[in-house]
């Protein structure tokens, strides 16, 4: 993709983010941070590419280490968000 199409996606996504985040209820700001943390680990995609196609030996290990770090975040982030959100659920039943 050329730079301008990427930039367009980026700028529009910033606006989407702006409106979506303002609609998040303040009570859920902590889960919001946890889940944004988890999704920002989509950077694992870069780490996977690096690890998969390493002609340079160092790059492969950088990639693998990146995968471990991002995985901690993905699994940890989604799990802790799920744990927090489950607490909000219990009260609904009450």
């Amino acid at each position: 993709m050329d730079f301008i199409s990427i930039l367009s996606i980026f700028v529009l996504a910033c606006f989407v983010g702006y409106y979506v985040v303002w609609s998040v209820t303040p009570a859920l700001h902590t889960p919001l941070m946890a889940v944004t943390n988890a999704v920002s680990s989509v950077i694992i995609v870069g780490a996977l590419i690096a690890a998969a196609a390493a002609d340079v030996p160092g790059a492969k290990w950088l990639g693998l280490l990146g995968i471990v770090l991002a995985s901690v975040n993905i699994f940890g982030g989604f799990a802790v968000t799920a744990r927090m959100l489950a607490m909000y659920k219990k009260k609904e039943k009450k």
Partner: protein, 541 residues
């Protein structure tokens, strides 16, 4: 098209069936266990797997898959607009991540087996095997899920800070990997990395490194491994601005340098970025931590976006933009709630500058009333309406469960109990809400500052537990106070105020005295918050 829709739909029902906590492990693993079949299948479907996520010859299906993944991330955040839809949202997030990971695996791993096909030239000798990749993911998954299960809810701020640091470090690693092996990322233009790619790469590494070292300091401060008070270096503004300028200059030089000269520049860039992250956060005090955590959240997003630019990956760009704006908005909300400008928070030193004035002035000891748990229980029972204001002290004392018990008993006696939460209560946005949720306080009873502040006039009791600055009337009246202009709860309008505090000696994080202590209707309950509430519960029996 049929194959694509089934590919997109595949994870849906599966994620819906398993329980949220188990879903994290299962959702991500299962398709990969089946990946033997899947990979072969998709290897045929995707025409140019080796170049899939790179700059040239983007396979439209792959691009579409990343776009869908990005849309799922938008839906994940959208779900958080209410607690009822939030769990579905979280599941959308998992699905989005699954799509992104599977797409990458599918497009980048089959090429290693195609030794005889047209892609034979691209076969890598040293690349990680599928087993190694899965092992790396498994290690991360075990660590991540273990931490997520064990972490106390009171420790959420430092957990989030620690997670931010990982995103930052991962961005640095990916940036470096792209620098060392640009061919794999499709960044080569006439045998060298394109200038635009180098700028993106440099920015990605710099933002990632700042996120990393900044989050490490934030983590150390939040978890008490490092003093929460600001550490002020002489001429820090000059040092910081100089370092930032140097990073920008280095990025430009890096982009313009010939292929053989780039190494020292990118090393210097990385080192300086790590340094500035450290320098930026050490002068920031404990009270400003909500802003810092939100700001680092924002940075981790921008780092992901910068890497998305480098790789031309829509999922990463959309996510980066979402997370970046999310963190920025949260920072803004926090700053507004403290009536402080973002710049002044970043410049740091809040609390430290005032300690001299506040302590040295040595205000004369003013009289205050001290009460017992029995007094409080008696008054609470008599009340019609009680508003509870929790603060960070409640989190430290882990008093939220005892507090809910107290509220339950009062409600049984016909007292109306509401909770009032200030946006900056606690150490991160929404921290108090999560703790109350943990104690199973119904969220319908929990109110934000602007929604409840007018009700104090009708309240019989304002019950302050572990909060201080957020009820300080000096914010409204005293122009010289460091917290002047900050929106605060009008507890002085309540008929009676109970103030749980460990001792009279301590002051809030802003380091200022609080007139509420000395009001006629205020009774100080000097004790550990949890112990005091438990005693009140006993007295209510």
């Amino acid at each position: 098209m049929g194959a694509l829709t089934s590919f997109l739909r595949r994870p849906g029902p599966r994620a819906g069936v398993v329980l949220p906590s188990a879903a994290d492990s299962k959702v991500k693993h299962r398709p990969r266990i089946k990946s033997g079949v899947t990979l072969v299948l998709f290897a045929g479907l995707f025409a140019t797997p080796a170049h899939a996520a790179t700059g040239e010859a983007v396979n439209p299906w792959v691009a579409l898959a990343y776009l869908v993944s990005g849309v799922f991330f938008i839906l994940a955040l959208r779900g958080l607009s209410s607690p009822a839809t939030s769990r579905t949202g979280n599941r959308f997030g998992m699905i989005g991540m699954l799509i992104a990971v599977v797409t990458t695996l599918v497009t980048h791993f089959p090429m290693r087996t195609e030794t005889t096909g047209p892609d034979a030239m691209n076969v890598v000798i040293d690349g990680a095997t599928t087993l190694e990749i899965l092992a790396a993911i498994a290690i991360g998954a075990i660590i991540g899920i273990t931490i997520a299960r064990r972490i106390a809810m009171t420790a959420m701020p430092e957990l989030v800070a620690a997670f931010h640091s990982l995103v930052g470090l991962a961005a640095v690693l990916v940036g470096w990997a792209a620098y060392l092996n640009p061919g794999a990322f499709g960044l080569l233009v006439d045998g060298e990395i394109g200038a635009v790619s180098k700028v993106e790469m440099g920015l990605g590494i710099a933002i990632g490194a700042i996120t990393f070292s900044g989050s490490v300091i934030a983590f150390a401060k939040l978890s008490g491994r490092m003093s929460g008070s600001p550490i002020l270096l002489p001429a820090r503004h000059v040092i910081n601005l100089g370092t930032l300028a140097a990073i920008i200059v280095l990025t430009a030089l890096f982009a313009m340098a010939g292929p053989s000269d780039t190494m020292p520049l990118i090393v210097a860039l990385t080192v300086l970025a790590f340094l500035i992250g450290f320098l930026l956060i050490i002068p920031i005090g404990g009270a400003d931590m909500p802003v810092v955590v939100s700001m680092l959240n924002s940075y981790s997003g921008w780092a992901a976006a910068a890497m998305g630019f480098t790789l031309g990956n829509t999922a990463m760009i959309i996510t980066g933009a979402l997370v970046g704006s999310s963190g920025a908005i949260l920072s803004y909300i926090m700053c507004r709630a403290m009536n402080r400008s973002f710049i002044s928070v970043i410049a740091g030193g809040f609390g430290a500058d005032d300690s001299g004035a506040g302590g040295g002035e040595a205000k004369e000891q003013r009289p205050y009333k001290q009460g017992s748990a029995a007094d409080a229980a008696f008054m609470l029972e008599q009340a019609e309406k009680v508003i509870i204001i929790p603060g960070y002290g409640m989190a430290v004392a882990q008093a939220q469960h005892a507090l809910r018990e107290m509220a339950d008993m009062l409600e049984e006696k016909g007292v109306e109990v509401k909770y009032a939460i200030h946006p900056v209560a606690g150490r991160m946005p929404g921290h108090m809400n999560v703790l109350l949720a943990e104690a199973q306080v119904p969220y319908e009873n929990v109110f934000e500052l602007e929604d409840i502040n007018s009700e104090f006039a009708q309240a019989d009791v304002a019950f302050i537990i572990g909060a201080n600055d957020v009820v300080n009337p000096a914010a409204k009246t005293d122009k010289s106070s460091p917290i002047y202009g900050m929106p605060v709860f009008d507890v002085d309008k309540a008929k009676q105020v109970f103030f749980i505090k460990r001792s009279m000696g301590g002051v809030g994080y802003a380091g200022v005295d609080n007139d509420v202590f000395y009001m006629d209707q205020t009774v100080m309950l000097l004790s550990d918050a949890k112990k005091m509430v438990e005693e009140i519960v006993k007295a209510l029996d």
